[in-house]
Subunit: 153 residues, 2 copies
Amino acid sequence: MAFVVLLRNCLRLCVLASDSLGLVAVNKADLSEVYRGYIACLNQQDWSRLDRFVDEKVSRNGQEIRLSGYREMLERDFSEIPDLHFNIQLVISDPPYLASRLLFDCTPKGMFLGLPVNGKRVSFTENVFYEFREGKIAQVWSVVDKAAIEAQL
Amino acid sequence: MAFVVLLRNCLRLCVLASDSLGLVAVNKADLSEVYRGYIACLNQQDWSRLDRFVDEKVSRNGQEIRLSGYREMLERDFSEIPDLHFNIQLVISDPPYLASRLLFDCTPKGMFLGLPVNGKRVSFTENVFYEFREGKIAQVWSVVDKAAIEAQL
């Protein structure tokens, strides 16, 4: 019993030391890095590379839309919002999960989320959660702040 | 230089060993535990204990509403939605940040988020991010899925 306590205390010290050297955070940092690569891919509209970041069987808000459906959704977003740009405000990484608060400042051409934006510039956020599987996004749970857009029209 | 490499490798081994014993996760688990205590406090409407979880100078979506304003907001929510209950679907803990996907299945009496719900039972989610300071919620960034409620009316 005393040995187990000693071992636990030794390990705690090692964890504290390694944490201060940034070693514990490797996985967390890796996932954040993959995520930043994914967001860069979206902003470049580099759809040929999307499969490096998104799983073939990806689900969004509980519905399996697969990679092809995911790409179509993103292409439609950029078609409806020509100046669309994803800005990361906050990333919370807890592998295999990651949460991100995204900030948008853009000009949807016509209707957007059922609202007649019609070329007005609007700012809004999206709070979005991801589950990664083998380094790729497998599940997405997203909520866009529609009320904030309404308030600007 | 060789000593540093040796030290780093020793620490890596310690981290792996301690991770398998669940020691690395202590802080993350602690924060999740505090958060679950906060949600239990809300569901019990135990407002006298709210200051154990929420910082005096709390901000919500960038606006400092302070503990008193936070309590008023929650009391108003429970007044407008008598069967309100917070259900945690997913917690992502990355101290000092925590993200949570909350699920609601409830019956707002009249208007809710500007929508005429008028006693209809609705299901919706909230994706919410928190920043903790000394174990208490200091900042909140929340997005409620208003579009999901609209689709049910």
